[in-house]
Amino acid sequence: MTPLWLYLHFPDLYLHSLLIPDDQPVALLGARHQHVEQLNEPARKAGVTVDMSMATACSLCPGLICQPLDDIQQQQLLEQKALWAYRYSAQICLDPPQGLWLEIGSMLKLFGGLESLWQRLLREAPTQWPIQLGVAQAAQAARLLAINHIGLPNSDKHWIRQQLHGLTLAQLQLDESLQLKLQRVGAKTLGDLVRLPLADLAVRYGIELVDYLERIQGHKQQPMSWFEPPLRFRQDAFFIEEVEHQNGLLFPLRPLLAALSSFLQQRQLSTRTLILRLKHRHQPTTEWRLSFARAEHREQELLALVRYRFEHHTLPAPVTSLRLCVDHFEDMYPLRAKGKQGQNNHWDKLLGTAGTTDTMDEASGVLDDSLLNRLQARLQHQQLFYLQANADPRPEIAGQLLDSHRHPQAAVIRKGLLRPIWLLDTPIPCPQPHEDTLILHRPERISSGWWDGITVRRDYYLSLQSGQLLWIYRDASKGWFIQGLFG
């Protein structure tokens, strides 16, 4: 199958990652900190242009915020975009600083054709980042179509060639000096260039130009190094204005959690630990580790859990940027869920045909853990329990509360014993009951526990006192205790 390339161009990628108030002009300066590289609409309206020096820009627009453009962070942003695009194709190549190649020839059948993939991608792209697409059989051609904003969901070779031949030398992104040289021989567009003999072009303008032209026309392969998604999750939110209260972090955190949720779903994973790294202006970074009782992957649940967790934290200082990290993952469906239903569930998830997760889980007899998680997140200390029944004659061991971090074990319970519904945490001493209140004439003797040192030797009675049915015992020292109540 011949490859088909889709190029994703993210204009002003770094600029759009900043949370900027609508009317605040902002310009990002290039590596030498002198010239504007990216700027937003308010700055553009004030007359600032790309490549303008910082001094000129600031005098044109007094309220302008100038920030250096961080190449490393821009590269990370591009990698985040690649992670996002991973849902459309597994073959992705980064084209720094702000572009991606996706091989989609093999994916068209899955997505129902080029037109539908194109529309879906535009629809699902985060609105925060504008995106320009181009598609062609040659990688460089797709790139040029995207960057010059003339791409259409049309893979017709004839049409593509027509579009490409109309591109000017500037649109081809050639060197300015090279542009000048070519203009001197009367070449204005790519169409003019390809009509010239290649050998002559190589001699006069260098082999690089010929190489470039051949790649655009698809006569030569573009070398590609495939992007491999790392199994760790990192995403950032930068704030132009510092955030002073932890609830102010929830809003920027929402898209990060949405990204995390889709990252987890694509890999059939879930997580139980989120790490938030909060950067401050004058203090070392704060790290918040948010752990949950059960692994989770759903966006809404994650958001609710984070919100509850935040109630236990206070910000030590205003925050300038936030990073969400996840390093440890678990299977989305643990072993116990992998019944027949669990398998179906897998496929439904994969194909995106699943209804709501909850109904599927219910059908397979698996309880939803989200309630447990939410309770755990809100309650500060260990206050959640399961009930554990044990095959032991001693009542305080036969029925216990079990910490919710552990799983209850099945036990064989002896039937036919008369036992109360309530068991007191510790037996309460009581005066000897009046004979009239005792119900069972024949007491039940429990004498056990010689093997582990907690020996009990008790006679149990039922006593009805002013409407309360008590389970009381007399121990070897003739003392009376209430241990349970028949609720």
């Binding site: 309880l367 009930l387 036969a398 029925g399 319970i413 036992r419 309530w422 002013s466 609720g487």
Partner: protein, 251 residues
């Protein structure tokens, strides 16, 4: 009568439709039109109790308050067979702030699936209310049980609304005095023990009906093991709940 129905004569067909509309809205309660119980309900397991409960069983989406004087008066036995049935659903049964440890072997013997039981011991009344509401709102609970150290009408209203929205069963045992000024709960019962086998149940309020007379429920088989007979305990020793409590039945 509502004002708009007055303006029409009885013969006017339009007046019928307006009246019907008003009646259909359910704002006006009519004795001859018993509410339809299309909601999920579960039999209490006691014929005497089912006969008194509206719709013939515990209704999902209706908050039930059970009053008792002290623990061990049979307050939990009343719902034990229903709990056993509900625990077969793959959903949680949440116990919030139980006054003692729910004894696992007894519940297991009564047919309750222990795997579906979750016990919360919150530190305060506020946390307890939050847990109850969260349990109801999550939609992952077949029943929510709560023991309340305080009683506030607005909280009971919130719980009643949450239970109705989630269509979930909810029982609460207020550990406070009986507030006779009325409650938003759909059902209010008082229970006291006559003997090991018999409970006397008072109904203070039931939605869609009059409170009705006190009745006796036989709980001999409730916990799976027969309760012993108690001929020696004199029935007249049973303490009645204060009669002022009955005033609450009007709302």
């Amino acid at each position: 009568m509502l004002p708009e129905s007055r303006s029409h004569t009885a013969n006017d067909p339009a007046s019928h439709s307006v009246l019907d509309q008003v009646l259909d809205r359910g704002d006006v309660w009519q004795a001859r039109r018993q509410p339809e119980f299309a909601r999920k309900q579960v039999s209490s397991g006691f014929p005497e109790l089912d006969a008194q409960l509206p719709g013939g069983g515990w209704q999902a989406g209706q908050l039930c308050e059970i009053y008792q004087q002290g623990l061990g008066t049979g307050e939990l036995s009343l719902i034990l067979p229903a709990l056993a049935k509900l625990s077969q659903q793959p959903r949680w049964i949440l116990w919030v702030a139980p006054p003692a440890i729910p004894y696992a072997p007894t519940l297991s013997q009564a047919g309750v699936n222990l795997k579906h039981i979750l016990v919360v011991r919150p530190k305060s009344y506020k946390e307890a209310i939050w847990c109850l509401e969260e349990g109801l709102r999550s939609g992952h609970c077949s029943a929510v049980l709560g023991w309340l150290g305080e009683w506030h009408k607005q909280h009971i209203r919130r719980l009643q609304i949450a239970a109705a929205d989630a269509d979930s069963h909810c029982w609460v045992w207020p550990q406070t005095g009986f507030d006779a000024s009325g409650s938003p709960a759909a059902l209010r019962l008082g229970v006291q023990r006559l003997s090991a086998r018999q409970l006397q149940v008072q109904c203070f309020k039931r939605r869609g009906s009059w409170p009705g007379k006190d009745f006796i429920v036989d709980i001999t088989q409730a916990s799976g093991t027969p309760m012993p007979a108690n001929d020696r305990f004199p029935a007249h020793k049973a303490v009645r709940l204060p009669s002022v409590a009955r005033l609450g039945s009007a709302n």
